[in-house]
């Protein structure tokens, strides 16, 4: 093919559709080799005025240039590929010293405290998990890009459980639980054959000795898949099952003590996961093999109690972290067991630096502005204001031959292109609306109130259809638009491929919500006693929260007015009926619906979170604490805050339902020869909706097209 193109006298053209993490990473990967310009051109088309997809954010010039996000985004310490990309972006961009967020260290802030909320009959109990920091750096150059083997997870995980039994209150629990008097001879035989003493070192009391044996045994297991001897697995299982059974009968007498409940929930979950991994042969098959089963069902099959499955917030927290609510409904939680287990283990056992990282400005500002600036400098061509309408497939060659788009606006200076960024306190940022002065009839467009990102936008003047044709405008396509939009933008791809139809059917999507509050009191004054946290497991529907005070200096509030910022996010239960795109009022109704949900939630649930944030309605927020320069009274002050219902098809979060992993397509495996895929909905090795998966997918697309990068961390469990 390339010969034919060269003979036509031009370079290969790679067109990327979409501007989210997957699309932008694909562009990054494609342009990351010196001399790429000799091989091909990279051209990116994006809807509206800003890049970022679900991670796009905007600055509101009417309200102190505040950051307005799609939702709450935090990065995890195990996002090896994502950090690697960002590290290189910041380095190559070379912002001058002293400029805001000049380096990646300044852009991302370590977050070690994670809070999960347990619901008891009489109220909420917060379980704080301070994950210690370590000296590693996520995505750093050189060694360490490879993830541990499954056996290493087992070894490290058991060590972590053992650590719990070393200190109070776990030590007391362990001491009160006797170890078995003797080991069966077959277990003893395995231990001896591995050179392990059956009388381990002193130091762990009671049942801890048995767990220590298990941990030592795990540490000696062969690392490669399938190399473990069945008798070794059996011996390890015997030890773990003893620990589980004995501790669990002990625990049922200690339900009233929340500190015991907390460590027991970690112990039980850890032991059940280890048991499930061993019994189901995951060491040989990898986690994808158990993705047909729901996480809770899988845990239950391996002996998890109702307490761990339903009341303790660890399992619940995984569902909330991965938004695993069918159609956003909290009563319909489903999550593929392998996806959940893998993500949980990577999160807890393989983080570098800190378990979480918070961005020090909007995600758009921290991630997409630097990426954009760098890619632009490298020579990627960006076309804003292009909405993809339809992809046409040739029925015989199966090539995607045409892309129909709407050019949403006419630029005043087409040659110069659209200049999308604005400066806020020295930082290049995305605005929350188009820069209308670059647009022909921009004033009228602004006045019309049309939202160019919305699928439900009322038709406006100035838009025109354009068509890209294979061979003329592109040779290779990278589809970086998210799966929720496929029924609308690529019906032909679905019609001509059973695999596509299956993918769209099995990978369901849900709406999500974001709510942001600017407070006139500090977190401490609001009654939060710990350090700033990232929290999940709390009352529906705003079940996940993070303190975001770190972004205050990046907004332009008069000194002292805003003392804290809080972001909430969660799935948003679908509207009962999602209407056709001609129902132009739908976004307003959804916006209003989210407002009602949020106000009600703030009335009912802010009290346990922030005990000092209420006034005379004890569980409800004192609306006066919301910063509102308009000076509204009472609940009307909420109107001055920011909330967003993510309802547009490509904004919908892609779920990892049981059975869905098998339905995912790989970036290189689109079923259409000139089409590559980039987004967290592809088969990546993580298989769930997150930045890291999208980055992996973008890199995989780039790898398939260009051979670069050569290595992507964590693509396989082995």
């Amino acid at each position: 093919m390339s010969t034919a193109q060269e003979s036509r006298g031009r370079k290969r053209r790679i067109v990327i559709l979409g501007g989210g993490v997957g699309a932008m990473t694909a562009a990054f990967g494609l342009t990351n080799q010196p001399g790429w310009q000799e091989q091909y051109e990279v051209i990116l088309y994006n809807i509206g005025w800003r890049l970022g997809g679900k991670g796009a954010s905007g600055r509101n010039k009417d309200v102190a240039q505040r950051i307005e996000e799609h939702g709450l985004h935090v990065w995890m310490g195990h996002y090896e590929n994502a950090f690697r990309v960002m590290r290189q972006v910041y380095r190559e961009l070379g912002r001058p010293k002293g400029a805001p967020l000049a380096t990646i260290e300044e852009a991302f802030r370590k977050q070690s405290l994670v809070t999960l909320y347990e619901r008891t009959p009489t109220g909420w109990v917060d379980w704080d998990f301070p994950f210690p920091t370590n000296a590693q750096e996520p995505g750093a150059e050189g060694e360490g890009g490879e993830l541990p083997t499954l056996v290493t997870y087992l070894e490290r995980g058991l060590q972590a459980l053992l650590d719990l039994l070393h200190q109070a209150p776990g030590a007391g629990l362990a001491a009160a639980t006797p170890a078995p008097d003797a080991l069966p001879s077959r277990v003893e035989g395995v231990l001896r054959s591995l050179g392990l003493s059956i009388f381990p070192r002193v130091g762990v009391p009671g049942i801890g000795r048995t767990l220590q044996l298990a941990q030592l045994l795990a540490a000696r297991l062969p690392r490669s898949p399938g190399e473990q001897d069945p008798s070794q697995i059996e011996a390890l299982l015997w030890l773990l099952e003893e620990v589980l059974a004995r501790l669990s009968s002990r625990f049922t007498r200690n339900l009233e003590n929340s500190a015991i409940r907390k460590i027991w929930s970690v112990l039980e979950l850890g032991l059940v996961v280890a048991r499930g991994v061993l019994r189901d042969g995951v060491l040989s098959t990898g986690f994808n093999a158990i993705d047909g089963e729901d996480f809770r069902a899988w845990l239950a099959r391996h002996g998890a109690s109702d307490f761990t499955l339903h009341r303790a917030p660890l399992v619940k927290g995984m569902y909330q972290l991965l938004f695993a609510y069918i159609q956003g409904d909290p009563n319909r939680q489903q999550l593929a067991a392998g996806v959940a287990t893998r993500f949980m283990l990577r999160m807890a056992l393989t983080y570098k630096g800190a378990v979480f990282y918070k961005m020090r400005a909007g995600m758009g500002d921290v991630v997409f502005a630097p990426l954009y600036e760098l890619l632009k400098r490298r020579g990627v061509q960006f076309h804003f204001f292009h909405k993809v309408e339809n992809l046409h497939v040739h029925p015989l060659t199966r090539n995607v031959d045409r892309v129909e788009m709407t050019r949403q606006v006419e630029l005043k200076n087409p040659a110069a292109g659209y200049q999308p960024l604005v400066d806020v306190l020295g930082l290049p940022c995305w605005p929350d609306r188009p820069l209308y002065d670059q647009i022909v009839d921009g004033g009228a467009l602004e006045a019309s109130g049309v939202n160019l990102e919305s699928y439900w936008a009322r038709p406006w003047p100035g838009r025109s259809p354009i068509t890209l044709e294979r061979g003329r405008d592109y040779d290779v396509l990278v589809l970086g638009i998210s799966l929720g939009a496929f029924p609308y933008v690529c019906p032909e791809l679905l019609a001509q491929s059973a695999r596509w139809r299956r993918m769209v059917e099995e990978l369901q999507t849900n709406q999500t919500l974001g709510v942001q509050l600017w407070m006139s009191k500090t977190l401490e004054e609001l009654g939060w006693k710990e350090s700033p946290t990232v929290m999940t497991g709390y009352a529906e529907p705003l079940n996940t929260y993070a303190d975001m005070a770190q972004i205050i200096p990046r907004e332009t509030w008069p000194a002292g007015t805003v003392k804290d910022v809080a972001y909430f996010t969660a799935p948003l239960i679908d509207a009962p009926n999602i209407p056709s795109f001609t129902d132009y009022d739908f976004p307003r109704r959804e916006h209003e619906r989210l407002k009602q949900l949020s106000v009600r939630w703030l009335k009912e649930w802010i009290g346990p979170l922030w005990p000092e944030a209420s006034r005379y309605n004890p569980t409800g927020l004192d609306w006066e604490l919301l910063v509102d320069s308009g000076g509204a009274k009472g609940v009307a002050r909420f109107d001055s805050q920011y909330w967003r219902a993510n309802i547009d098809p490509p904004e919908r979060y892609v779920l990892s339902l049981p059975g869905s992993t098998a339905a995912r397509l790989g970036s290189h495996d689109s079923d259409y020869p000139n089409l590559y895929l980039a987004g967290d909905w592809t088969l990546t090795g993580l298989n769930c909706g997150c930045v890291e998966a999208a980055v992996m997918s973008g890199l995989q697309a780039s790898q398939a097209i260009s051979g670069s990068p050569g290595h992507i961390a964590g693509e396989s469990d082995f």
């Binding site: 009959p121 339903h310 009335k603 009290g607 005379y616 004890p618």
Partner: protein
């Protein structure tokens, strides 16, 4: 002499009080001919109740009589005597009908968790409805200080010597000597003044004020850092602060000489804060309890709490310190059965005529001469035809030998009975699509002489347009005297209180999560309902609170409005049971959802799944204009109209919404207003208990 014909419009507590008094003696009966016009099939207004399936009691909400309801109790004592039920019948006497309750509980939200105050109020030997004298001002001051001293005594024994501060444990001696001395001094001054029967002397008041203000400074200077982690210390400190700050306010503003009403321009919390109450106290349930008890939330919104300081303070002092016998009394059956059956029986015996199924459509006033305008016409719709037009409607049924109001009309006496049933018509609803079968127009001088308007204030704009036209005072009243919708639900459960996880007696609890902030255990009513073993419930529980809704009721053409609001009330109840019940009944929740109510506890079972079982229980939204609860908002007292000063010659008004000296929506205020209306019509004296001191 020709009898004066009095048309009483409405059959709630106030109207029935007037009707009762107008027919009380042979002389009065000679002088007055009284007819009560009542919508639908039962009396009681907001206090009406009915019997539903299984003979169960279905109320508008939770009703109790506080122990200070002297006028209401006196009325009921008389009504029970008058009715003279045979002793073998249930609830034959007043004493059987009203049962003392001593246990009040409150939920306080402290440090992000619900904590409970349980306050057992000691009983005393006084009898409800039989008080003879009014307290002196100094007795009240002395009582407050005595209670404060008792509390400090308890605080003293609770102060920990070692406290946690940061990471360190710090040993510290906290002496309460200073506080004790200050309270003792104050108490001594008050005692001396009380014993000397002294009039309020400013000098004594100033002395006490000086001492107790010092006490508040001492309290928060020495104690506040200790209370964060200890709820008992919190309770004692906040309790002391609350008592003393109220006392500071009472003395500073000379409430005991100038009357409570003088404070009604301000909100109670604002007033209390101004007199030194700690912000913690203002947020505590002790302060909130009067807002919850009097549903004082503008448009039913818990974020907008407001109540006139004088009305609130009066009610608090009356409830807490001046009860007769017990702090509260419950009815031994429903409110309708216990209050309105005897009132009806007594009135009927005394010749009062009752016209059920009569819906007042308009009260027409005209200015006919030089004098004040008067009511000239009453347009009253007859909702149904009686099968036997010559006989009065017989409104009762019997459950376990007790005379009761049914939950719906006794259709077999009604010509249109089947049609009403078939179309599911609620004849009490202001919003019903049902058309009156005919209209009666009563003319002044021909059909009536005097009118007693006993229908609540939110109905006035619909029923009395000509009165509003003629009277600026009425226009002001309608504009300023606010009302709200309320909601309630009742549960019958298969487990007893202890098995549900409540361990301390049979509570009356308020201050819990909005909007359904109030709960009463009503298990004692179960024997009066029609249940039988097996599968009879072991617990009955009532919940109620304000309902968020518009400030002004929608017009009668919004036929589906009640259904919409009732659905809202259902959702609120279900949401309460899903999220909040565990604090009250920790053992009533599901194993897998530790916060969600176990729906299978509900009796009877409809075999439904999950919350579908709630369908068998009772819930209601009180949204009719005449069901709306009256608020005593700050600054609205002057907008109220006295029963004897309506500006219309032949019109008296009654209800808890008139200027009755009490202002808060309650049976006692309604009864007082009915007595005032009696005075207005007859010009005769009638002793109103508390009038000289409390209700000034």
């Amino acid at each position: 002499m020709k009898k004066k014909r009095v048309a009483v419009l409405g059959g709630g507590a106030a109207a029935m009080t007037t009707a009762y008094h107008l027919s009380r003696t042979p002389e009065l009966r000679d002088e007055y001919e009284v007819t009560v016009f009542q919508l639908g099939w039962r009396l009681g207004g907001k206090g009406a109740s009915g019997r539903g399936p299984h003979g169960r009691i279905e109320e508008h909400g939770l009703h109790i009589f506080w122990g200070f309801y002297e006028n209401a109790f006196a009325l009921m004592r008389e009504a029970y005597r008058e009715m003279a039920r045979p002793a073998t019948m249930p609830l034959a006497t007043f004493e059987e009908a009203f049962r003392p309750r001593a246990l009040l509980a409150m939920e306080d939200f402290v440090q992000g968790r619900w904590q409970r105050w349980v306050v057992p109020f000691p009983t005393n030997a006084r009898l409800p409805g039989e008080s003879t004298d009014e307290p002196t001002s100094w007795q009240i001051v002395e009582t407050v200080l005595r209670v404060a001293q008792e509390l400090l005594g308890k605080l003293k024994s609770r102060i920990p010597l070692v406290t946690e501060r940061g990471a360190a444990l710090i040993a510290e001696e906290v002496s309460t000597a200073e506080g004790e001395r200050l309270l003792a001094d104050a108490h001594a001054y008050a005692l001396a003044a009380a014993q000397a029967q002294a009039q309020v002397a400013e000098a004594v008041a100033d002395k006490i004020l000086g001492v107790i203000r010092e006490f508040l400074r001492w309290l928060w200077g020495r104690i506040s850092h200790l209370i964060e982690s200890n709820f008992l210390l919190y309770q004692l400190s906040v309790g002391l602060d609350f008592l003393i700050a109220n006392l500071v306010g009472i003395l500073t503003d000379k409430v005991l000489t100038q009357g409570f009403s003088s404070l009604d321009g301000q909100d109670y919390r604002e007033w209390l804060g101004r007199h030194g109450a700690n912000p913690r106290t203002l947020r505590s349930v002790l302060t909130r309890v009067i807002y919850d008890a009097a549903m004082s939330m503008i448009e039913g919104d818990p974020d907008r709490q407001a109540i006139g300081a004088g009305s609130a303070l009066r009610a608090l002092v009356r409830i807490g310190l001046t009860y007769q016998g017990a702090v509260a009394y419950e009815f031994a059956a429903s409110m309708g059965d216990v209050v309105f059956v005897p009132l009806y029986e007594a009135c009927r015996k005394n010749g009062v005529r009752f016209e059920f199924f009569h819906r007042v459509e308009e009260v027409v006033a005209e200015r006919t001469g030089d004098g004040p305008p008067r009511i000239t016409r009453l347009r009253i719709g007859r909702q149904v035809d009686m099968k036997n037009p010559s006989a009065e409607y017989e409104p009762f049924l019997t459950v376990k030998n007790l005379t009761c109001w049914p939950g719906r009309p006794l259709y077999d006496q009604i010509v249109q009975g089947e049609q009403l049933l078939r179309d599911n018509i609620d004849l009490e609803s202001f919003y019903t699509p049902w058309k009156n079968v005919s209209e009666r127009v009563l003319e002044v001088d021909k059909d009536f002489d005097q009118v007693v308007f006993g229908i609540p204030v939110a109905s006035v704009p619909f029923l009395c347009p000509t009165l509003l036209e003629l009277s600026p005072a009425w226009r002001r009243m309608v504009k300023e005297v606010a009302t709200i919708e309320t909601q309630a639900f009742q549960l019958w459960l298969s487990k007893d209180q202890r098995a549900l996880g409540w361990t301390v007696g049979s509570p009356l609890l308020t201050g819990y999560v909005e909007p359904l902030d109030t709960w009463a255990d009503m298990t004692s009513l179960l024997p009066r309902e029609g249940w039988a073993q097996p599968n009879a419930p072991l617990t009955a529980a009532y919940f109620c609170g304000p309902l968020s809704g518009p400030a002004v009721p929608p017009p009668p053409t919004e036929h589906d409005y009640p259904a919409r609001q009732k659905e809202l009330a259902r959702q609120n109840a279900v949401s309460f049971l899903k999220n909040d019940i565990g604090v009250l009944w920790p053992k009533s929740t599901q194993a897998r959802n530790s916060e969600v109510f176990d729906w299978t506890l509900l009796v009877p079972s409809n075999e439904g799944v999950g919350e579908a079982r709630f369908a068998t229980q009772y819930w209601r939204a009180n949204v009719d204009p005449s069901e709306r609860y009256t608020l005593a908002l700050p600054g609205t007292r002057e907008a109220r109209i006295r029963p004897d000063d309506t500006g219309f010659e032949n019109l008296a008004i009654c209800g808890d919404w008139v200027d009755n000296g009490f202002y808060i929506g309650a049976a006692e205020g309604a009864v007082i207003s009915g007595m005032l209306a009696f005075r207005a019509i007859t010009g005769r004296p009638l002793r109103i208990s508390g009038e000289a001191f409390w209700y000034r």
